[in-house]
Each structure stands twice: as structure tokens, then as C-alpha cells.
Symmetry: C2
DNA sequence: CTGAAAGCGCTTACAG
DNA sequence: CTGAAAGCGCTTACAG
């Protein structure tokens, strides 16, 4: 009765936790196919109907049934009709797993992300699933919760299901060497959103982080801001570095200096972002920034809270921009100026890319998707 | 090159759209296992390592390797160690699909919902996946987009992957008879969130809709409101009926009449909810309501927008409550009083329930999860 | 404690 | 156009 422990892949493969759960169809043992010839098997709820049943019922070979199933033109129209009628009558359900085993194919793709509760990834996942479904593939879901250890475990488990590809948004702190242990040379991998050094053999789909941050910074400059901070994110993540580079470039292009104290790190969650607000105003020797380009929307939301707590009105006394355009961004007070990445469309694109990589010829490639600036009130501050 | 059409299950089973994509491992044909005995197969990236390879390499039978893999105590410690070393050396990956075929088991559960972009379902899905992963199962994802037709297609496709169970949040307008066509007597089904007549053979997990709406209504009554509308949802959905019943019961308990014009239908999206705001105030013969219990948070958000458009301050001039407690609810202006259902916990619960149903003895059961009132400013209206 | 053999449900050459 | 046979990678009685 006590639940099995989760698969602890100590050896990274011993499937000691194979779920020992029979499919309901077969929960009753001894269904040795006693074959009461002519009996209506469509009525027996315990038996699982196979191509053999169909073949026997109408006196053709299993090969013929298989050809009908696969839509082969080789079989006579009459025979085909008889087979199809019998398939329907017995409510045959194709066993794609068995077919995949025999054909050495796969009809699934693994999708591994940090957390579905992040609306950006939820949209992304929805897009992946949509596009995959359209191509006849099913999505195998996995989440890492930003833990590289859990990521290893999840990927190991998913690989045992022989996915045709893996779409992976790596957990923060992922190590390419570790990943190669579970995603070996055979695996068809597409990395999303976070670049990884030492993973050049895999495809990559990312956002145009640099250009996005540049757009946001230029927008603030055009509103008259001259002291603009870059707020939040961890400088060791590639997306943060790229966004910082965009900020730096825009500042440089406008001939504006960047004080090092305007580069503030924070975990990308609301709480820490709010807590670090003071760091923007900590140094009395310098004039403080009047605006901040935030690492992402969540950070921006936190910063706006932190500003309010100090009696500063975001969008009035201080301008804020985000990144991602999560649904909340449109309904906060004030609504958030941010960069829209169209995560659902990215999901579709990721699915296409990973399937394209299956083609022998296609070598993994690096794809950068554009982002667009969505202007709302949080950046509306005019300098007094 | 042109992409295959999606699986159109005209006969509801002919797998004409079998993805003809070889696993990358086998993209090169003629890998007929020429067995260069002693060659280090760990180095050949094209070959997929099987139990046979392991067995041959160290001179034991495949059965022994299989026993080691499954953690059987029958095999000698020395042999086990040798097998495990060789598994590691050749980077063996367990083929769970093959094992499932032979053992007639399954290690997946299908999760079918309307849309992951709905934060309530995203949280729910995250919870399902978490709990399933802990038990060694993998989640097969499917989404219906509220279309019963698409739902049939998605379920048909997922059933071909022989899931051990199906967690289904039925699309609006689902028909139990149709569902039984693809989810036959063998299928282990748990319905979530939406009740379906004629589906008593399946498990059900729902929220305490009636009690939740009653709590919200009582809360408004306690604030002095006497004319309280029920706003949004479609009266033909079970959850809407139950929430309306909770509203009616609270009103009755307080001796308050309910004017039929206070029961207003609307699709559960922001746009339509906003557009129908006028219906609350349309009738000049009666005093209009001073508060509304909304079908869900999305409707409440739309209504608040509609109120603002008429110059009415939600939470000041008119009280509003929602249902679900989506993340946005805490950050809107004003923050929304609503009923929290802890969707992630519901997801975990759904996973547990569907796995429990696998046990022969356990018959499907009806489970109602409690909801709790989360009071914020949108209901703060005191009557003048 | 280990091995030989059969079989899960399907597909694929190969004959006819 | 159809059938007999082999095999995908695994597991499970059954002998020894």
C-alpha cells in the first residue's frame, strides 16, 4: 500500500521503479486468448483486440490487416472494406508502442521545462503540444523546478520512453557535460531559451535578448531618461548577459555613461526583486537612476512593489520596463511596458525545429526569434 | 517534404498518419548488429544498446540482465555487479516501451485539458506531472481548446499510446456517449472539474462549487449588500449551476430575494464579461444590484473593466468576487476577492486518484475538494 | 542462482 | 494482391 519511492536513478538507468501496474485491460490474468471462434469480442471488455483478432475474424493474414491500418495501396478495395468494418466492429485500438518498437520509430517528443506555472512556459508548452499534435506526435511532459539534479532524473526517465526528440529549457546551473550523460550522441535535442557552452551539437532556439533590451533602453532614452539601471537577473546566465549587452549598447549609442552601481542582480522572482529596490538608491554620492530596464516581467513587478513601498509611483516617479509580456503585465498598476516574445508561437517553432532535426541531413542550428516592444504606462515617466 | 496532415481519425483508429520518423539512433539502416565481438560498443554512436549486448559482453543470459535491471534479489551479488558495470560502460538505456509491451503494463498517464494557457490548468497540470513523476509515470499531454471534436481526436491519439489512465477535464459541450466511443470500458478515466451525465463508470474530482459561491455570497451579505447578482458562466454547465445554487442558498438563508434579472450569463472570457456589464443595470424599474458573485476570476476581471468603463469603481461603488484565485487576481486593481482552489494540489490529487483506480478493487469515486475564501479589496464596498 | 524458449502487438521483406 | 516467417527489446515461467 505504501507508495513506491520515485525512481532514484543512482546508476542513472536501473529502472527499479518500473510502475508495476497492469493496464486495466489486462488486470485479469489467464486471458490466454481461448478464441471462441465467432464470438463477438467487441462485447468482452477484458480482452484487448489485436491485428490477429481482426485477421482471424475475416480470414485474412495479419499482414493484410497491418497494410490496411497503414493505408497501403497494395490491398484490394474489397478486402480493405472488410478489414475496416471489422476494425470498427471490434473497436480495435492501434498499439502505437508495439509498432514503434518494430519499426524503430518514435511518435513522442519530450518537453522539459522549469515549471508550467510560469505563464511564459505554459504558453510555450501549449504551442509545442499544438504543433506536435498536428504532426501526429504526442508530448511527454517533464519539469525540473530549476534543479539540475531533478533535470537529470527527469531526462533519464523520459529517455526510457524513446522520444524522437527532446525540447529542453535548461534549469539554471545546468552543465552540458552532465546533460550529455543522459542525452547522448543519439538524442535529438533542441535547447530553448538558455544557451549552454559545450552544447553545440544540439539545436538552439532563443529570443533576441540583446535587441529587446536595446529597444527598451532606447524607449526610455527617448522619454528623456539619462540614468537608466539594468535591474535583476543573474549575470552568469546567458539571457541576462545578452539583455545587459543590449542595455549597454543603447546607452553607448546615446553617449550616456553607465554607472556600475546601476547593474543590480536579483533572482528572477518578485520577492527578491522587491527587496533589492533600495540598491537603486543606496549611493548618496551619485544621482540615482530615474528608470530601470528589468531582466523580466516578474522582476519588474517586484520592483514596482518595492518602489511603491518607498512612496515612489512606478511610471510617474520612476520608469520601469520588463521582458516577456506575461498576461499579468497588461493588468498590473500601472500596466507594464515590456517585450513580447509570443511564447506560443515560439513553442510551435520549437516543435518544428526539433522535428526538422530528425531529417538526417538537417544539422542542428541556432535560431533567434525577434521580440517586439509593447509600450504601456510603467515607462510613462517624463522627467520633471 | 510537405508536412503530413494531422491524424484525421475518420474511422477513429486508422493510424494513417503514423509519424514515419526513425529514431535518430537508427536513422542509418543496415545496422544489422554485425557484432564485432569485443568491440567497444559504447563508442559507436549509431547502435542502440540492448540487454543482449550486455549479456553477450559479459557472458550471461539476457534473463540475468533483465533480472538485474528489475532489481531482483535472485541474482548473485558478483553477477549483479558485473552486469551493472557493463550497463554503465555501454551507456545502456532501458527501453520502457518494450518492457511495457511484454509485461502488458503502462508507465504513462494521459492528461487532457482545454488549454495550458489558463493558469488554473497550468498549475493543475504541474501538480499532475509532479505526482505522476514521483510514482514513476510520465505525463502524456493533450489539449482540446474547448472543442469536443478536437477532444475526440486527441483522446483517440493518446489511447494509441496505451496510457495507464486518463485525466480529463472535458471540453464544454462534451457528450458522454461520444467519449465512451474512444474511452471504452477498459479505460481508467478520471474526470476533473466538469461533471458529465452518463459517466458514472468513471472517477470524478471536482471543486466544492456550491459551498464556494455560498461563502462569497455570505461574505457580501455580511458587508451589508442585499441585492447581489450572479454574473457570468453558462447555466448549462454543471459548475455554473452549482455556483448559482450556492449563491441562491446564501440569499435564501439570509431571507433575501433573488431577482431573475440578476442571473446573467456570459462566456467565461474577459471580453464578453466586460461587454455584458450593462445587463446588471439595464432595468430601470428595479433597484440594480450593488454586488456580483462572478462565475470565475476571468469573468470578474472583465466585469471590473466594464464597471470602470461606466465610471463605477469596483470595490467602492460595486463589490465583485471571483472564483479560482488565478495569479492575476492578487495584482489587479483592485485585487480580487475570490475562492482559492489550490489547483496544484488538485493536480496531485488527481494523479493519486487515477493511479488508485488502477487497483482492481478500487471502484471509481466522486471526490469534492474544498475551496477557501480569499478576501481582497474588490469586495470591500460598504453601502452608502 | 542462471539459461533457453516463448511471446507482448506490431511490421517487413520475401515468396507466391 | 495475400500469407508465412522473422524480429523490434524486453520479461516470464520453466528447467536445471
Amino acid at each position: 500500500m505504501s507508495p513506491k519511492r520515485p525512481p532514484r536513478p543512482e546508476t542513472a538507468r536501473a529502472p527499479k521503479a518500473t510502475p508495476k501496474v497492469a493496464r486495466k485491460a489486462n488486470a485479469v490474468p489467464g486471458s490466454k486468448a481461448g478464441k471462441p471462434a465467432g464470438a463477438d469480442r467487441g462485447r468482452d471488455p477484458q480482452r484487448v483486440v489485436t491485428v490477429t483478432d481482426i485477421a482471424n475474424a475475416i480470414g485474412v493474414s495479419r499482414a493484410t490487416v497491418s497494410l490496411v491500418l497503414r493505408g497501403s495501396p497494395l490491398v484490394h478495395a474489397d478486402t480493405r472494406a472488410r478489414v475496416e468494418a471489422e476494425l470498427k466492429r471490434q473497436r480495435y485500438v492501434y498499439n502505437r508502442g508495439a509498432a514503434n518498437l518494430r519499426r524503430r520509430t518514435s511518435s513522442s517528443v519530450a518537453l522539459v521545462i522549469n515549471d508550467l506555472a510560469n505563464p511564459f512556459f505554459a504558453e510555450f508548452a501549449a504551442g509545442v503540444d499544438e504543433a506536435l499534435g498536428d504532426r501526429g506526435f504526442v508530448t511527454l511532459l517533464g519539469s525540473t523546478g530549476e534543479s539540475p539534479e531533478r533535470q537529470q532524473a527527469v531526462l533519464t526517465s523520459l529517455m526510457e520512453h524513446t522520444p524522437a526528440g527532446v525540447i529542453l529549457s535548461p534549469a539554471e546551473g545546468s552543465d552540458a557535460a552532465q546533460l550529455h550523460k543522459v542525452l547522448d550522441a543519439r538524442a535529438n535535442v533542441l535547447l530553448f531559451n538558455r544557451e549552454l557552452t559545450g552544447a553545440d551539437d544540439w539545436g538552439f532556439l532563443g529570443l533576441d535578448n540583446q535587441h529587446g533590451a536595446q529597444l527598451a533602453t532606447e524607449h526610455l532614452i527617448s522619454l528623456g531618461h539619462r540614468r537608466i539601471a539594468f535591474y535583476g537577473g543573474h549575470a552568469d546566465s546567458s539571457s541576462c548577459r545578452q539583455r545587459r549587452a543590449g542595455h549597454a549598447q543603447a546607452m553607448k549609442k546615446a553617449g550616456l555613461p553607465v554607472d556600475p552601481t546601476w547593474l543590480i542582480e536579483s533572482a528572477p522572482n518578485r520577492l527578491e526583486a522587491a527587496a533589492r529596490t533600495g540598491e537603486l538608491f543606496g549611493d548618496n554620492d551619485h544621482a540615482p537612476p530615474t528608470a530601470a530596464v528589468c531582466y523580466n516581467d516578474t522582476v519588474a513587478l517586484g520592483l514596482m512593489l518595492g518602489l511603491l513601498a518607498r512612496g515612489i509611483q512606478p511610471g510617474k516617479g520612476f520608469a520601469v520596463t520588463g521582458f516577456d509580456d506575461i498576461p499579468e503585465a497588461a493588468v498590473t498598476t500601472p500596466p507594464l511596458t515590456t517585450l513580447a516574445a509570443e511564447p506560443r508561437e515560439r513553442g510551435r517553432q520549437a516543435a518544428q525545429l526539433v522535428l526538422k532535426q530528425l531529417d538526417a541531413g538537417a544539422s542542428p542550428q541556432r535560431t533567434i526569434a525577434p521580440v517586439t516592444l509593447s509600450i504601456r504606462e510603467s515607462s510613462g515617466a517624463r522627467l520633471k
